[in-house]
């Protein structure tokens, strides 16, 4: 039986179908989860997709963290459930305090969408285990509020503990501290990533297939678990 990976739809989620496609192409079953339903339907991992949950009103991700589904996700993430937050999902993870820091308005104040170079800095997480250490990949970035900030001590700790998952190379698209594109929690089961790996899964529609490895990595870790 293939692994079952849930993709949450909040009101205003946009890349939810795209994340489901990535899950399917990686070889798992995609399970749609609804924001208002606390039941995770027994999924083995969860993706919080990109978009503008609740219109991004108040602050990106600030309302989504109070959704019924998030209560269960936060609880199970603390017990090891693999969770990947992409773009808006990353913002939700920070607002939920599963990850430190915050994502603020891009320094240049524009939304930016481009094919972005990244260096995978940690292969210790369940979402990046199949990458090579230091592997350089191209994955689209698209956000208006993707500038990762945290206090210096937190940034130092993230670096020291190997929790910086990916860094921007060839130009920082939003002004993120230390070119950080993604981070993990200490256990490595929760990852937040500003770029969109679900948009680099087919040669036909993306800059390549570099993003698919996020999804195959978690499948491998589920098999090995």
């Amino acid at each position: 039986m293939p692994a079952r990976i849930g993709v949450v739809t909040f009101p205003g989620s946009l890349d939810d179908r795209d994340a489901q496609r990535a899950v399917r192409l990686a070889g798992a079953e995609a399970v749609a989860l609804w924001h208002g339903d606390a039941d995770l339907r027994g999924v083995d991992a969860v993706v919080l997709p990109g978009g503008f949950s609740y219109g991004d009103y108040l602050r990106c991700g600030a309302i989504a963290r109070f959704a019924a589904v998030m209560t269960t996700i936060v609880e199970q993430a603390r017990q090891g459930l693999p969770v990947l937050g992409i773009c808006n999902g990353f913002q939700v993870l920070c607002e939920s305090h599963l990850l430190p820091g915050a994502l603020t308005r891009n320094q240049h104040l524009h939304f930016v969408n481009r094919d972005q170079g990244l260096r995978v800095e940690s292969t210790k997480t369940v979402w990046t285990s199949e990458y090579a250490d230091g592997q350089e990949v191209v994955i689209p970035v698209k956000n208006g509020e993707g500038c990762f900030v945290a206090d210096e001590r937190t940034l130092d700790a993230l670096e020291a503990e190997g929790r910086v998952v990916a860094r921007y190379i060839g130009g920082n698209p939003n002004g993120s501290s230390r070119d950080i594109a993604g981070i993990a929690n200490a256990a490595g089961n929760v990852v937040g990533l500003m770029p969109h790996p679900e948009h680099a899964i087919e040669d036909l529609t993306g800059p390549g297939t570099d993003g698919l490895t996020f999804f195959t990595s978690v499948l491998k870790s589920l098999v090995n678990a």
Binding site: D56, Y57, G171
Partner: protein
């Protein structure tokens, strides 16, 4: 005191401000004749809106009829007249698409004007039953370095991005053109395309006596009152920005919820008729649904959720508050409709019912404020045969001799590539989400956007918009056909078969006979061109009164062409993908620099004749490109248009960072070869293995095929003329817009090479 029908009957001679509302004396008299009394205040507001130029097409109708006589096409499922045309694309799927203008609001309040332009066209597409899957935006601005362009352009771009990105619709292309004629009157055209199962097509007719009229979406406020009559149907004067209260304010989050809720209702078969609320708001939606259904309707205005409790009935009916839809549902389905709305957090209110007879009756509490035949508002508006006169300066313009041709130098090439109309649009396009939904196969800077419709079969569509105001100013008939030809060529260059056309006709004041001549000539040219190419016009939009302080814009018909690809994996990309490919020029180059980008960029010269139109040649070229893609013969194809061969070569090299060594053929002067804008031409790159087949294909279609050189290296080398390195070209091409509008983030990357075909 509310002006009721009873009161109107009792006070027949009360003076009414019909002139201020934009109605002429004879139009007001006609209203009185229809009603057999004076209109109430609310009715007067409704007639002034529905009979405005924007809603009634009163100046353009007689010319637009030509499109209805266009080529018949078995793919056309719904033609002009509904909210958007619908085209059968096979596999049980239908596609609907349309382009519309939001010009004046975007000048007054750039961000919201442009944002709600996207919102409005998306609702048009949703109304047809389709899931919107992409947007495009043809834009025109004043001079790039004019101070007001620095206000208008960034706001418009941010508004389009802000709304479209938040809806999760990829923006797959568009245009950005600078010309002083758009100073004070930028053009913001927005195109949306949607897809649906054929069985899900929705229409606007309200039928079935006793059926319930449900208002979905946002609350109704005072925003946008007078949008169509004040902003869209009158010429701008100096106080443009003072009209800001007439601009609507958008909430894309609400629209996203509305889309999902409506689609779920359609899938459940719960909707008998549906109409979006756009320009003219509830007035338009109530009259058009009841007129289309040839039924009566009773609307209870006091049931409508308001943002401001003090609103008067005429304000409620005229409000252009965004993100609203009007659905007609059976009483039995009402609970299911309300439940779906509730699931998505969308307000849904039963505001009335379909009635016997043919009167639209609107009550405000217990008072009858409107009692009219809906057809008189929707269909019986005035129709004008406006005076037409060829502009006095038309001959002078044609006789205005071109400046002397220069030598073809590297400096000239770099200046042209960096000029505002030819330089990279990266600054604009990077602010749009181009990949959401995961089906974008090609987007800017490709010739046309290509989107996959089916993951199972790889069925897809291609779409391009084009329009050249300078060509159209020089010759409106030819200019409209050149716009059509270029969009057709762009679509064919990807390998798609062009099947249908939409248009947005942006012109000055119809009360100016010279403008009406331009309009008449352009519509005639477009109708003739569509007939010759076999591509029917499925719908579109007319935008008049694009003039400020008496000066009209260059007439700008924007033409969108839809193409079909059986298999999107066989699409042809525009850039050179690898070294060692043979570069071929398809088509013939003539000495045609009238209205060209060279004449404008180097000399601010507009005169002479635009390039000749030969639609048979366009069709033949299209057949070569389509067959070449189908048979996997073409590694790259890039159409030649503004800036000519020089621009096409530079863009093809920069796309993936692959240079080329090129020898210009013996013929006209190298300058003409490089910068002429002759139509019906395309640059292609082929592997050695396919060269003979492509040459034979061209011969079979009687298309001239000239071998120019080979790809490779890190420079564009023009044998015997000059060599420009790709980094020099990139610096020139990419530098202009960031220098004008501020840097975007980080370094720019070359696109990775497209995968082998």
């Amino acid at each position: 005191m509310t002006d009721t029908v009873d009161r109107a009957t009792q006070t027949p001679d009360e003076e009414q401000p019909y002139l201020e509302l934009g109605l002429k004396d004879d139009e007001y008299a006609k209203v009185k004749a229809i009603l057999g009394r004076r209109p109430t205040q609310t009715e007067l507001a409704m007639y002034s809106i529905m009979w405005s130029e924007h809603c009634s097409y009163k100046s353009s109708k007689v010319h637009l009829r030509q499109f209805g006589d266009g080529p018949k096409n078995e793919r056309l499922l719904v033609g002009m007249g509904e909210n958007a045309g619908v085209v059968d694309v096979g596999e049980g799927l239908a596609v609907t698409f349309k382009v519309e203008s939001h010009n004046h609001p975007s000048y007054v309040e750039p961000y919201q004007g442009a944002a709600t332009g996207i919102g409005g066209i998306v609702r048009d597409i949703l109304t047809m039953g389709a899931r919107p899957i992409l947007v495009m935006d043809p834009l025109r601005f004043g001079d790039a370095d004019h101070p007001d362009t620095k206000r208008v352009l960034p706001g418009i771009v941010a508004g389009i991005g802000g709304y479209g990105n938040c809806l999760g619709l990829p923006n797959i292309g568009g245009e950005v053109v600078f010309d002083p004629s758009y100073q004070g009157n930028p053009l913001v055209n927005a195109l949306c395309l949607g897809v649906m199962p054929k069985s899900r097509i929705q229409l606007s007719a309200a039928t079935g006596v006793g059926n319930v009229v449900v208002l979905l979406g946002a609350k109704t406020g005072r925003d946008g009152i007078g949008g169509v009559s004040v902003l869209a149907s009158a010429t701008f004067d100096a106080d443009g920005p003072a009209r800001r209260p007439s601009v609507q304010v958008g909430d894309p989050f609400m629209e996203k919820l509305l889309i999902e809720a409506c689609l779920e209702m359609y899938d459940g078969g719960l909707v008998q008729g549906i109409q979006d609320l756009g320009g003219a708001g509830l007035t338009c939606a109530l009259t058009e649904t009841s007129a289309a259904g040839r039924s009566g309707m009773h609307a209870h205005l006091e049931r409508i959720p308001l943002r401001e409790a003090s609103m008067e009935p005429h304000e409620v009916l005229a409000s252009e508050s965004q993100e609203r839809m009007l659905a007609i549902v059976t009483p039995a389905d009402l609970p299911a409709v309300l439940a779906i709305a509730d699931k998505w957090g969308v307000l849904a209110t039963a505001i009335g019912e379909v009635t016997e007879g043919d009167r639209l009756v609107v009550t405000w509490h217990d008072a009858v404020v409107v009692d009219v035949p809906p057809g008189s508002l929707a269909d019986d508006g005035p129709v004008y045969q406006r005076p037409i006169e060829r502009p006095a300066d038309q001959d002078e313009l044609a006789a205005h001799a071109l400046p002397a041709y220069p030598a073809a130098t590297k400096d000239l090439l770099l200046r042209m590539v960096a000029s505002p109309n030819l330089c990279s649009r990266r600054w604009v396009v990077e602010q749009y989400d181009r990949v959401v939904m995961g089906d974008t196969v090609l987007a800017w800077p490709e010739d046309a956007g290509v989107v996959r419709l089916s993951e199972e079969t790889n069925l897809g569509i291609a779409l391009a918009t084009d329009g050249n105001g300078r060509y159209t100013r020089l010759d409106p008939y030819a200019g409209a056909q050149l716009a059509l030809a270029e969009a057709y060529r762009n679509v064919a260059a990807t390998g798609a078969i062009p099947i249908a056309v939409t248009n947005c006709l942006n012109f000055g004041s119809p009360e100016d006979p010279a403008v009406m001549w331009q309009f008449a000539e352009a519509t005639r040219g477009l109708a003739d061109g569509c007939r010759d190419l076999g591509t029917p016009v499925t719908g579109g939009n007319v935008s008049f009164y694009n003039s400020t302080a008496g000066a009209a814009i260059n007439p700008t018909p924007v033409v969108g062409v839809l193409g079909l690809l059986d298999d999107v994996t066989r699409r042809t990309p525009m850039g050179f993908t690898e070294a060692g490919l043979t570069v071929l020029l398809l088509g013939d180059t003539w000495d045609e620099l009238g209205g060209s980008e060279w004449a404008w960029a180097e000399h601010r010269h507009l005169g002479g004749r635009p390039p000749a139109v030969d639609l048979l040649c366009e069709k033949a070229l299209g057949e070569v490109l389509i067959a070449g893609a189908r048979d996997g013969l073409l590694s790259a194809a890039h159409d030649l248009s503004d800036g000519g061969l020089a621009q096409a070569l530079v863009e093809s090299c920069l796309r993936h960072g692959v240079g080329a060594r090129v020898s210009l053929p013996d013929g006209p002067a190298p300058f003409v070869e490089l910068f002429s804008e002759s139509a019906a031409r395309c640059l292609v790159a082929v592997t050695g293995a396919h060269e003979a087949a492509v040459t034979a294909l061209c011969a079979a279609h009687d298309v001239t095929c000239t071998r120019l050189g080979v790809t490779g290296g890190d420079a564009l080398e023009l044998t015997g003329l000059f060599t420009a390195t790709l980094s020099e070209l990139r610096e020139a091409y990419e530098g202009t817009l960031p220098a004008l509008f501020g840097p975007l983030a980080g370094a720019t990357r070359e696109a990775p090479a497209a995968p082998a075909l």
